[in-house]
């Protein structure tokens, strides 16, 4: 049985791979590939955020987890969503320069965010929610 940290960290890696593929295609002005890859990346990110925002974070909070860190994570999700929105515009306009600048920015925000989750928040969740882990992971995958 995977821990929450292992499961979610693997999902981060999967999203990173989508990110890299979309960026490479966009900078090469290969827009048919870039568009498909970007949509996949954006949808996978949306799914990942849903797992956190609708299942993991609320469960953690109601089990007595700290509210502050969760709040910070949600603020960073908002930043990331805004950047993704701007990237979608760049894809629509086939603007490689703008896409490259935005994806550069997104990468750092996203990596710092994932780093904090993997090293702090998910670990807390694994501790506090140890007993209900299996059910929790199922619920997360179902969203």
């Amino acid at each position: 049985m995977k821990t929450i940290t292992e499961f979610m960290a693997a999902d981060h890696v999967a999203c990173d791979n989508e990110f890299a593929r979309a960026e490479e295609a966009a900078l090469a002005n290969n827009w048919s590939v870039a568009e498909t890859a970007f949509i996949k990346f954006r949808d996978d990110m949306a799914h990942h955020f849903k797992m956190e925002e609708e299942v993991l974070f609320p469960t953690l909070k109601s089990a007595g987890g700290p509210a502050g860190p969760v709040h910070v994570m949600l603020m960073e999700h908002a930043q990331i969503k805004e950047l993704l929105k701007q990237m979608a515009e760049a894809v629509a306009q086939k603007n490689a320069k703008s896409y490259g600048g935005l994806s550069e920015t997104l990468l750092i925000v996203m990596q710092q965010h994932n780093h904090k989750e993997e090293n702090i928040l998910y670990g807390m969740a694994d501790d506090i929610l140890a007993n209900e882990r299996e059910a929790l992971l199922e619920r997360m995958q179902a969203v």
Binding site: G68, P69, Q86, G101, T105, L107, Q111, H115, N119, I120
Partner: protein, 432 residues
């Protein structure tokens, strides 16, 4: 629990790091001017006043300036522990460091003991405040990760290097008879092999995987490398401080030191070659150039251990490739990533109005083309460094290269700052 590292306002105000970053390129220009006004070829003689002056422009005025700014930015974010009174600490370190570095370097260049005597207390003050503030914040840090250990060891080595530097500067100024040669060896090893090396290693653990999506450094490396390097370094200094002692332990320790640092360079290059993000990136190229230079510095130093007539020459080349090739490449590459990110990050905090006004993305803050020009200029400067100890012409090219790099970097940083100011102005206008 390590909740501390998730508080929303970990980052200090943007003025804290930018103040240091904006001052740093001025010292590259000053280094070039001091080299240009020295007699003959300053690289031909290790103790030439112009070289000593230029070295400290680069180490104190440029490198320490950027590192102090970066540590005050990075420690709160990576380690999750605030610096005490960030603005005050920034001013109280930046001003005496600037004044002290100018006095020390002009004191060396003009051989004026009065200036040296004014410089060392100021530098001591700057480092005392900086070191106490960072130790305070590192001690409180809940996260005990390898980066924290490496930064801690780096700061302790720096404390040792600065103490010896002050002692020698005071000695030069007042004509004390102290063993300068041994003290200088210890000073240089602690400053470069400890302070600079360990800080870059600690920061690499975080930024190499993050910027290029490379695999992480192996766990055995992040756990043992920084402490092992420091132990090798200290062992190599024991015979220096307790003369007369047999020379072989020093030799073995020095060989181990260079093997460990080359391991770091080779592994970093290997991780970077496995990166999942494969788009061109100036920071990445600066970083790889730095790793190649570190391997070259190791080879020069190892070759200098052989009993040949070129020993002194090779040692000098090793110090130069370490400073200008390794440290300066990595630092400049990092600046080109950190400054655009900080500008974006602090503007994004403008909230709804910021989004309405439209904030520049990271590539609209410092033009990417400038970064690539700078890389080429830097490679050219480094090629000249390889010949500078022998050819006067090459020494001139190094001087010119430093001058142009200082100007280019200065323009880049001021462009970043003015983009920040302009956008901030527009955000404030939109909110009234």
């Amino acid at each position: 629990m390590k909740i501390a590292s998730l508080s929303p306002d970990q980052a200090p105000p943007i003025g804290v790091p930018l103040r240091f970053f904006a001052m740093a390129p001025v010292f590259l220009v000053l280094a070039a001017l001091l080299l240009a006004t020295g007699d003959g070829n300053p690289f031909a003689n290790t103790h030439s006043p112009a070289l000593l002056a230029a070295t400290h422009c680069i180490t104190l005025g440029f490198m320490a300036m950027v590192m102090l700014g970066a540590i005050q930015q990075v420690v709160p974010v990576i380690i999750g522990s605030q610096m005490p009174s960030p603005r005050l600490v920034a001013w109280l370190t930046m001003l005496p460091l600037t004044a002290g570095a100018i006095l020390l370097t002009t004191g060396f260049a003009l051989s004026k003991p009065e200036l040296l005597n004014l410089s060392w207390p100021l530098l001591g003050l700057a480092f005392l405040i900086f070191i106490s503030a960072s130790l305070f914040s590192l001690a409180r840090a809940a996260a005990k990760n390898p980066t924290r250990t490496a930064i801690l060891l780096s700061i302790l080595s720096l404390a040792g290097a600065v103490t010896l530097g002050m002692l020698m500067a005071r000695g030069y100024a007042t004509g004390l008879s102290i063993p300068y040669a041994s003290l200088a060896t210890a000073h240089i090893s602690l400053a470069l092999g400890g302070g600079v090396m360990l800080l870059i290693i600690g920061v690499s653990y975080q930024v190499v995987p993050m910027f290029q999506l490379t695999p992480n450094y192996p766990k055995w490396l992040t756990t043992y490398l920084a402490p092992a390097i420091l132990v090798a370094l200290l062992l190599s200094l024991i015979p220096v401080l307790f003369e007369p002692a047999p020379r072989w332990p020093e030799l073995i320790a020095e060989i181990i030191f260079w093997i460990l640092t080359s391991c770091y360079a080779v592994i970093t290059l290997k991780l970077q070659s496995q990166r999942r993000r494969r788009v061109p990136d100036a920071t990445l190229s600066f970083f790889r150039l730095g790793m190649l230079a570190l391997i070259a510095a190791a080879l020069f130093s190892l070759a200098s251990l052989l009993p040949t007539a070129y020993s002194d020459h090779l040692r000098m080349l090793s110090v130069l490739t370490f400073l200008l090739g390794f440290a300066m490449s990595v630092i400049q590459g990092m600046l080109y990533k950190i400054i655009p990110f900080l500008v974006w990050f602090h503007l994004f905090r403008g909230g709804v109005n910021a989004i309405k006004v439209g904030i520049p993305n990271m590539k609209e803050i410092i033009p990417e083309r400038w970064m690539w020009w700078h890389l080429k200029l830097h490679v050219g400067t480094l090629l000249a460094v390889l010949l500078a100890t022998r050819l006067d012409m090459a020494a001139w090219l190094v001087t010119l290269g430093l001058l142009l790099q200082g100007i280019l970097l200065g323009c880049a940083i001021f462009t970043g700052i003015s983009v920040y100011r302009d956008t901030l102005g527009r955000i404030e206008q939109a909110s009234t």
